[in-house]
Symmetry: C2
Subunit: 407 residues, 2 copies
C-alpha cells in the first residue's frame, strides 16, 4: 500500500498535457518551435511594467504586498471595467472577479457549476486546458464540430437531445487552436438557444485584442444585453496574458451576480486571492494608458509573422494544406487534404528541427488526425520560413512512405 492508492477520483482522471511533454523539444539547439502557446517575449513592455512596479512600491507598497480582497483589488477591477468598455461592453467593476490567469476562471466556473456526471458542450477542436479542467470536474463532454465560422451552434439541439448541459464553452475570437471567430449569426443563435434552454454560455476571449485584420465582432456579453433574459445565461472570461504578460497571472471573469457570489466563496478556499502585487502593477499599467501603444506593436509584429507563415505554407504545400488566412490571435490551424497523420508527421518533423502541435490534441473526442496547430508569434519571419521548409521535407518523407489516398 502506498499513497498513490489513496488519490481522489478527480486525480485519477487527470492526464498531463501533450503540449507540456512536447515543449521539452523546444529547447533543443536549432529547434524551430511553432508548438508553443506563448506570446512573443521580446515584445514584452519591460519599461512600462518596470515603471508601474516602481510606482506601486513607492506609492502604496503596504497595499500591494498585503492580503487583498478575494474579488480582486478595487483599482484593477475598475481598470478592467474600463477595458471591457473599450471592448464595446461597459461592465460594472462589481461584476468582475479577478482570477489567477483565465485558467483559474475556467476552473472556478467548473467548480461553481459542475457535479461529476454533468454534461457540458465544447467546440471540436478546442483549448486543451478547457478540456482538462472539465475532465477534472468529472463532466461528460459533448462536442460540437467547428468550421471557419466557429462552432456549429445550429447543431446544438441535435447534439444535446434530452440532456440539459451545465454550460457551453466557446472561444469567441481567434480560437485556440482553430483561429476561427464565431460568426455574428452564430453568436446570436447561441444566446437564443441558451435562454430557451436555460444553459450558461461561457465565452472565453483571450485573443480578441490581437486582431490585426478584418472587423471586430461584438462579444456575446454585449449581444446578450439585446436579447431578453440572455444576460443571466452569459459568462465572460479573459486575461492579460496575451496582451500584457502571462507571468503576472491576471485573468478575470464577468458572471451573473448570484454565480459570481458563489464563485467568490469558492475562490476564497482556492487561493484567498490573486497576487495583490501583480494586480496593483497591472492596474497601474492599464491606468497609465500604455496598453494601446503596446497592442499596436504586438499586432503589427504578429501580422507580419502570420502573413510570412501563411505565404510560406502556400508556397510549400499549395492546396494540399487547407488553412485560414490569420486575421488575429496567435495560431494558424491547418488540415492536410491527403489525410496525412500529423502525429506521424511530427516524429519526422522533429528530426528535421521543427515542431508543432498535432490537431488530435485539441479534441475531447472524434480526433481529426490530419490537422495541426502552428503558432506564428514566437518565431521570426525567417525562422517561420525555415520551419516550413523543414516541415515540407518531413512531409515529403512521409508522403513517399505512405501511399496518398485517392480523392
Amino acid at each position: 500500500m502506498n499513497t498513490t492508492q489513496r488519490i481522489s477520483r478527480a486525480a485519477g482522471r487527470t492526464r498531463a498535457s501533450d503540449i507540456r511533454d512536447l515543449l521539452q523539444y523546444a529547447h533543443l539547439p536549432g529547434m524551430i518551435s511553432m508548438a508553443g502557446g506563448l506570446p512573443a517575449p521580446e515584445l514584452f513592455d519591460r519599461d512600462g511594467i518596470q515603471t508601474s512596479t516602481e510606482r506601486v512600491l513607492r506609492e502604496h507598497h503596504m497595499i500591494a504586498l498585503q492580503y487583498g480582497m478575494t474579488e480582486g483589488q478595487p483599482k484593477l477591477r475598475q481598470q478592467l471595467a474600463s477595458l471591457m468598455a473599450q471592448r464595446g461592453c461597459p461592465t460594472d467593476a462589481q461584476d468582475i472577479l479577478v482570477t489567477t490567469g483565465s485558467q483559474q476562471a475556467l476552473d472556478l466556473i467548473a467548480r461553481t457549476l459542475i457535479d461529476e456526471g454533468d454534461s457540458v458542450v465544447l467546440e471540436r477542436p478546442t483549448y486543451l486546458a478547457a478540456i482538462q479542467v472539465l475532465q477534472l470536474a468529472g463532466a461528460r463532454i459533448l462536442t460540437l464540430p467547428g468550421d471557419k465560422q466557429g462552432a456549429k451552434v445550429e447543431l446544438l439541439p441535435e447534439l444535446v437531445g434530452a440532456q440539459r448541459p451545465k454550460l457551453v464553452y466557446v472561444v469567441s475570437n481567434f480560437a485556440n487552436p482553430s483561429g476561427a471567430c464565431l460568426s455574428l449569426q452564430r453568436r446570436k443563435q447561441l444566446l437564443q438557444w441558451a435562454v430557451a434552454n436555460q444553459v450558461l454560455v461561457i465565452e472565453d476571449d483571450p485573443y480578441g485584442d490581437l486582431r490585426f485584420a478584418g472587423e471586430p465582432l461584438p462579444s456575446l456579453l454585449e449581444l446578450a444585453r439585446e436579447i431578453a433574459g440572455a444576460e443571466q445565461w452569459c459568462g465572460y472570461v479573459s486575461s492579460l496574458s496575451k496582451t500584457v504578460a502571462p507571468g503576472l497571472r491576471i485573468g478575470w471573469t464577468v458572471l451573473p451576480p448570484t454565480l459570481l457570489e458563489s464563485a467568490v466563496k469558492i475562490k476564497q478556499s482556492m487561493d484567498l486571492h490573486t497576487s495583490s502585487f501583480t494586480q496593483e502593477v497591472a492596474a497601474d499599467y492599464l491606468a497609465s494608458g500604455l496598453l494601446a501603444r503596446h497592442l499596436t506593436k504586438i499586432r503589427t509584429a504578429y501580422r507580419s509573422r502570420g502573413e510570412a507563415l501563411a505565404e510560406a505554407l502556400l508556397q510549400s504545400f499549395g492546396n494540399e494544406l487547407e488553412f485560414n488566412q490569420p486575421e488575429g490571435g496567435m495560431f494558424l490551424w491547418g488540415r492536410f487534404q491527403s489525410g496525412m497523420d500529423t502525429r506521424k508527421l511530427l516524429d519526422l518533423a522533429r528530426k528535421q528541427g521543427v515542431i508543432f502541435v498535432p490537431g488530435d490534441t485539441f479534441h475531447a473526442d472524434s480526433p481529426d488526425r490530419s490537422s495541426l496547430r502552428l503558432s506564428f508569434v514566437t518565431c521570426s519571419e525567417e525562422q517561420l520560413r525555415e520551419g516550413v521548409k523543414r516541415l515540407a521535407i518531413a512531409y515529403q518523407q512521409l508522403a513517399g512512405a505512405v501511399p496518398r489516398p485517392i480523392h
Copy 2:
C-alpha cells in the same frame, strides 16, 4: 428558474468566512482591530523587494513575465530547498511544488486526495480556511481536541475508530488560532500512528520562522526521516506570506513523489502556474540573503507586541482569562473561565471600538463559545493596551448583565 439553481453541490456547501464579514468593521475610524490574520504591513521590506524586482526585470524579464513551469520557477524551488535546509530539513528542489499561497496547497492536496464523503481529521480549534477547503471538497470532518501542547494525538485511535481518514491536518507551530506548538512527543506519536494506519499527515507551518522565545521543534517532515516508512505518509505546507509578504502569494508544498506528480497535473488545470513574476522576485529576495535580517526585525517587533498584549490582559482580567504566553506567531488564544460568550462580547466590544474573532469560528464542530483569538501583530503596543481596556469595559457590561456561573 435562474442560474443559482444550477450550482454544483460543492458550491452549495461553501459558506463565506465570518472573519471576512467581521473585517468590514476594521476600517471604521478609531477601531482597534485584533481580528485580522494579517502580518504588520509597516514592517514589509519594501526596499529589499524593490531591489529584487528591479534586478529581475533588468536581468531576465523575458523569463519573469512569460509562462512558467507548473511545478514552479527552478530558481525559486532551489531557494525554497535552501530555506527548508535552514529549517533543519534539507529537501530536494524536485520535491517542492510552488503554489499560489499555502491556501492553494491545501486546496490542491484536498483535490488530490479527497472524494466527497471521505473522512479527514482536524484539530479543534483550527485554521478556518482549512475547514472551508475541506468542506468544499465534501470531506467528513472529525475533530481532535487540542491543548497547550497542540492536538491530542493520543485520542486518534478512539476518534477514528474503524474509519480510515484520508489525512490528518495539523498546524505544527504557533497554530492559528490556538498559538500552540505540537509537542515533540506528540509529533512522533502522530507519525507512528500515520505509518501504522497508512494515513497522510499534512503539516502546515506558516509561522515556525516567527519564533521569538523558547526552543524550536523539529518539523514532522524532519522527524519522519527517522521513523521507518513515515516519509511516505508525510506532507508539508508553508508560505512566504507571514515572513516576506502575502501579496506575492508564494506558498509551497513538499509531498511524497507520486502524490506530487498527481498534484502537479491538477494544478495545471487550476491556474497553469503561480505568477512567474512574483516567484522570480521571491527567489531573488531569498538569494539576496535579506530574509534573515528581516526576520529578526519582525520577531523583535512581534515579541514586544505579544508581551504588551499579554501584560495588559493579565492586568485587566487576571485569572479570569486563561491564555498562553506567546512565544511566536501572530495570535494569542484566550478562554474566559466564567464561560462568557465571546460572540455576545464582540457585539459590545465593537461598540467600544475594539474587535477580535470569537473562538467558535475556528471549530468545525463542538464550538468553544468562551474562547477568542487576538492578533497582536498589526497594532502598536499602545493600541493593544487601549484595545484591552475597551475589551474590559465590554466584558464588565456583559458580566453585569449576565450572572457569573458559580465555580
